[in-house]
Point group: D3
Chain length 312, copies 6
Amino acid sequence: MPQKIIFATQRYQYLKDRILSISVPSWENGVIEIRDFPDGEHYHRIRSNVSNKEVVLIGGTIDDKETLELFDIAHGCIQNGALALSIVIPFFGYSTMERAVKYGEIVKAKTRALLFSSLPGTASGNKVIMIDLHVDGITYYFESGIRPVHLYGKTFVKEAALELAKGKPFVLASTDAGRAKWVESLANDLHVPAAFVFKRRLSGEETAITAISADVQDKQVIIYDDMIRTGGSLLHAAAAYLQAGASEIAVITTHGIFAGNGFNKIKDSGLITKIICTDTHPAALTIQDDMLVVKSVDKLILDYFDTLQYPK
Amino acid sequence: MPQKIIFATQRYQYLKDRILSISVPSWENGVIEIRDFPDGEHYHRIRSNVSNKEVVLIGGTIDDKETLELFDIAHGCIQNGALALSIVIPFFGYSTMERAVKYGEIVKAKTRALLFSSLPGTASGNKVIMIDLHVDGITYYFESGIRPVHLYGKTFVKEAALELAKGKPFVLASTDAGRAKWVESLANDLHVPAAFVFKRRLSGEETAITAISADVQDKQVIIYDDMIRTGGSLLHAAAAYLQAGASEIAVITTHGIFAGNGFNKIKDSGLITKIICTDTHPAALTIQDDMLVVKSVDKLILDYFDTLQYPK
Amino acid sequence: MPQKIIFATQRYQYLKDRILSISVPSWENGVIEIRDFPDGEHYHRIRSNVSNKEVVLIGGTIDDKETLELFDIAHGCIQNGALALSIVIPFFGYSTMERAVKYGEIVKAKTRALLFSSLPGTASGNKVIMIDLHVDGITYYFESGIRPVHLYGKTFVKEAALELAKGKPFVLASTDAGRAKWVESLANDLHVPAAFVFKRRLSGEETAITAISADVQDKQVIIYDDMIRTGGSLLHAAAAYLQAGASEIAVITTHGIFAGNGFNKIKDSGLITKIICTDTHPAALTIQDDMLVVKSVDKLILDYFDTLQYPK
Amino acid sequence: MPQKIIFATQRYQYLKDRILSISVPSWENGVIEIRDFPDGEHYHRIRSNVSNKEVVLIGGTIDDKETLELFDIAHGCIQNGALALSIVIPFFGYSTMERAVKYGEIVKAKTRALLFSSLPGTASGNKVIMIDLHVDGITYYFESGIRPVHLYGKTFVKEAALELAKGKPFVLASTDAGRAKWVESLANDLHVPAAFVFKRRLSGEETAITAISADVQDKQVIIYDDMIRTGGSLLHAAAAYLQAGASEIAVITTHGIFAGNGFNKIKDSGLITKIICTDTHPAALTIQDDMLVVKSVDKLILDYFDTLQYPK
Amino acid sequence: MPQKIIFATQRYQYLKDRILSISVPSWENGVIEIRDFPDGEHYHRIRSNVSNKEVVLIGGTIDDKETLELFDIAHGCIQNGALALSIVIPFFGYSTMERAVKYGEIVKAKTRALLFSSLPGTASGNKVIMIDLHVDGITYYFESGIRPVHLYGKTFVKEAALELAKGKPFVLASTDAGRAKWVESLANDLHVPAAFVFKRRLSGEETAITAISADVQDKQVIIYDDMIRTGGSLLHAAAAYLQAGASEIAVITTHGIFAGNGFNKIKDSGLITKIICTDTHPAALTIQDDMLVVKSVDKLILDYFDTLQYPK
Amino acid sequence: MPQKIIFATQRYQYLKDRILSISVPSWENGVIEIRDFPDGEHYHRIRSNVSNKEVVLIGGTIDDKETLELFDIAHGCIQNGALALSIVIPFFGYSTMERAVKYGEIVKAKTRALLFSSLPGTASGNKVIMIDLHVDGITYYFESGIRPVHLYGKTFVKEAALELAKGKPFVLASTDAGRAKWVESLANDLHVPAAFVFKRRLSGEETAITAISADVQDKQVIIYDDMIRTGGSLLHAAAAYLQAGASEIAVITTHGIFAGNGFNKIKDSGLITKIICTDTHPAALTIQDDMLVVKSVDKLILDYFDTLQYPK
């Protein structure tokens, strides 16, 4: 059994630390030296010996700098003799640009998959491990030289739902028609009803959202969405469910990004009582507010390396 | 402008003939000699000169024989000097096995994409052109050496809906939560309401389907689904909408497969008044029944080569 | 030494069972779940853990369904983490279409080699292991990412020849000029004379076959051919040797396919007294007749994994 | 002769505009729609028809955002049917990290080359065109599927030197031993003497630079370097040449980056009288100062497409 | 129709000159500058403009120097923008090492195929064109990025046979069992009988060759073999046919190599009256002797580019 | 820890023997059977079992025969199941043709890198290990499927310099401007001054070399160059340093090729007192003269496999 060694990009050090605090002493803490230059370039040097070790590298494609840093460190580990390379991408940025709807649109989910597919192989192969992708199919966007893995945070969602429900009945609801299937599946796992919305296009950019489930009346509604970016869709859906009679709205999301002052907009709306998200995106950790609970995916990642890759 | 020449696998000759009858005289009719042997092998020989021509090759991955025939003819065209190769796959079989839900499941949509991606390139490149895929992302399952194109049959669906509605108001409905997004989009294009279903798992394999839209009462419901395989989901959804008060159910589907005596089961159920499908699968053409109207995708394909690949 | 696990396609289960019965308990029995659907699609799920194991997968390219099943299972094993993959193809179908003689002929031996070459690599690499190929060169038709291996059934042929000769002198004979070299080599190994035939083209499709060896007079002739497909060439050669004075004709072949009622045609001809073949093709096992003896290649395959891959 | 169409990343629009102003009306102005989102993602859509056109795409790898934008737009042009793709990278950022000196250093020049090499091919092939690379060999760092081109700005340097010299004799000088070869070659072209420096390491990080040419006494020294990043090496060399008796120091550089307030540091030093650079990096254009003259590489790029790619 | 330009390696200039003398003025004469250095290195520079031209490059893999020169010039043409590249290899050296018979043998025919397969592609693709290969399958040893073509010198053999026969009946004969198939086919084309030999292994290296055709008595025997290397097999076969009563032996061969003083050994044996070969190997041209007639393959090559690549 | 086995091409057996004499008994001596044929072909057979072993293969690209032998043996080791392959190329021939200066020049350093990059991968990957490359960047000319390693002979140079200096002060000098950087670095390591030359082009091919360092007067000058090919540049530089007042010239070089009677020319010039080189090129070993000391790189290579590939 070869030694595992873990690295992370600059903004994902927190997740590396959490995993090391659980996995210690079996995993080695990988050291990288990084310097950023005034001209926009960066210097990276791997200071740990990676030769013949299984490298686990954590980083999200959350912006251009992190994306290229992840690519560069991965390449460095390969060139210096890593036996195996598992790139853990807790939040796969660009996953909402997953297909071209109009001529000429550039499908970032594909170009990012292509990027990581271009890495030379390690002896035991390269893997990309992603969590709660916006679209399942992205798993198969990678070229055949790399093995993609999709981890589902179902356990997190179920535990969060039970925590929010506090024993009372609730309805699991989606923010748009695209997530209907997933919410249906989760609702069935939780043995609760599901609620969807229908987004009617009024004219041009203007839309009206209607909750099209009859049974939210006087019930707590727990909305699940894979990610909250600016919170716009979430607030529209929440308003629709309240209008349909819901007594209270709580929210579960895997990826809490809250871009562009998103969290405050949600809080200020007064529509939502509580949000539970994970730490797949570093932004979630920067918010200190009672309304938000952040749970770590550390164990989900660690479990994958221990047991999840084997059949059940 | 190089000469276009069109070939088809054995079971898709009808579509080649239709396209030639429209495109004549500009496209050349490609001739292949095919012999099937008692030991399960096949002999293929391209009899037309393909050198420096743009080859359009039509065939669906509807079963193993057609799949390999498509692969073999494609390879033959490449080896004999085709300038460009466009493989038109009107129905991309295996598109419902588009992701692994359980450990060890083999994702056929990926392995089929890999198959066609392994073809050597032509001078002007290889394309795969598909119609109304079950899942959009399949477009991006192909390796980067081949250019995938996804044609949408929106015009067909709209025209079929108007034909079925005969001027009366109707609701556009889906057969399951997974298609909710697409039906929402089509309903908005048609300026009609949308209806969804919620499939509640009762125990193990048993499920109950509920229409969760309030406004089908006394209205015609037109169900759209990308494909009808055996018709099972369709009949469950139809029953749910009728139970919710719909006055009548008509159906539009792109791919009419009707496997395992599927058409008769639908007809015998008495739940549905009319079905409109396309000829993307040869099975649809074998059914002669007033209840079924089959429209050809010939023009959709031809339009792609004429104008659809350019921006609007 | 990693654990070996063996899988087979549906029609090659018998060979997997034979190998397991010999190799037990060291090799693990790989379990796959397969379902065939009425629309021509298939569902495959690998139920055994293949992660970090050496997978041996058996299946012949005997028809389109088996070919794609072999490809799909191979892909599944790779995606689920197999350490190494050895695809054993006891009978490489299409091996007689091994080169284009006329413009436009599609070389199936090449397209099938390309198919298996497109599989992503495993950590310890992919191999294809074939037995008594119709043409040696096919070994080198595969792309460089896969390692092909050619096993020769020389021991089988020699033992079969001695069994048929029952201690009496005999001549080893070929069915056509293309196998002359191989028969020459086997005859030298057995220290017996060799006999060839010359096929003279009379007109168009008509040919006359002449034995062009003087020494078959009153001797037993044992014909060796790599495969019997429909038996046509075999019967023509047998008649030529009898006409040249042979006292009796027996036959050895590696691949007994007997397509299109081939076995009965041979038996009914009365020209041949005995046939010995192997079980590389499942068809041979379906024939129950005293005239046919089927020997298994199980040990040949197992020997390869034990010792044959090392130098002597 | 196919139509040429030109695109640029956001920060290189100025160079596209210059080239269009010269090449008009023969080249088409490519239109891209770009939106930057608060979460760090970007939306790109190609609005011009690129199908069967020769695409020229301009952008430097000057920071992470521009690098990925260049990669994404290139991919979009390929996917939408560009006949040929020439990526012009006027300043190849990271070119100073062109080899690993210590264990574990990540060679950015290689990983950037790998990035662009992973783009799928166009019918007529992909090219990368670079100008005055820091190290010649970088041309060959690209994988074999892409054709790299290195343009030399020799004409620019010669004209700038004559402009600075104003007819008086001068010495061409280098800033470090690594550029000695290049300066030697340019000096010979200009028929002037060359001067080098020797950098002696005193202790740890401390170094002393000595001009080791006897003939700068009372002469104008024109220093040439491929790039000025922060200006540190330049100022040390200038001081050394002045100490050796030079009457005046002027500077020519291809890439004027002037990072981290570099230009002001140079100006404030008072060591240098004049700098001439090109517009390969957008930073040079932001400086408005009599001491700096910026010449465009527009004609050098255009000449390549007209004549430079052919033999002389 | 793009301009064709032809190059050759140093030892194949004669064949380039012959082709140019026929094809003039339509093909351009490609100029290369070559210098050989005392340390074993070589300098090559393409002096003609190859950009957007169809390059035809002639050279045989007759020794290590020519092989690498062919590879290097091919690469140079690609890098300098050739539109298409056809590498004509009149004699594919190493074609007799076309498979491993014993463990550890290195299959040169495969490694040479791999070598040329590693060349980057041109816009219209790379081809390798070979003549009368020792083994047909070698055509398919190339990786899928290159298109191999096999030209048959059947017309040459037929004309040579008629020239040698001078109107008298003759038998077409082979030198070993491996060529039996080919000789059978040629004999049928010429409407003459065929004769084979059987090589009996006596002990270890010692073999005895017997003609096993009854009908050579008092007839002229024309032996055909694809190549004469040292002439050993040829002389053994000739002796066997003479012993079987042949009145006279003449020889046709495509590739006349005559290595190690081979021609004189044949001549001195007195067994053979005349040899006709082609100029696929430069060695044949160095022999000036009435016994040898050398015919050029210039027209065969030119015909390929004119018409042979199209179907008949 | 897998078994290491070492092979060498014919002309590098001496280096294999030296390494085995140090590494014994842990490394296995690999046996190859090689036969050269009169027609220019070669037969290679690997006689040792390489399956699942780490193969170290030594050979320089010193001429065409050695280059292809290295390629062929490497391929044979891969095909026969080597676990890992490290190709040690002590002298990378063609390294001076490392970039195209004029249109049409073929960059041999790139085509040779491409050659070795085309080898199929082994389970643990392929490496190329080179020593004191003429240009650092060559390390990155290889395609991404192979891992290049550059070993520096700094220790050898330092020890040789101390041995030559015999405790007296000396100046480290370069033979041309291109090596200035390297000599500067070595001089700093040795705490001695550095001297450079400036090569002034007089007219056409004629050049005059001037030492441009003031401090060689009455001092011993030790010239370092990476290779001595014919010795021309070396002698010009030596003359320049003597003219500048140097008391004595000694020389250190990594690669002693001495092509075209180079050693005698140097000796006869009388300019140089002593040369120390390594045994990276077999030519150095053929010279028996007191003026030349040859040190082996055996330990440098062995150290790499023991410790150099790990971080310090």
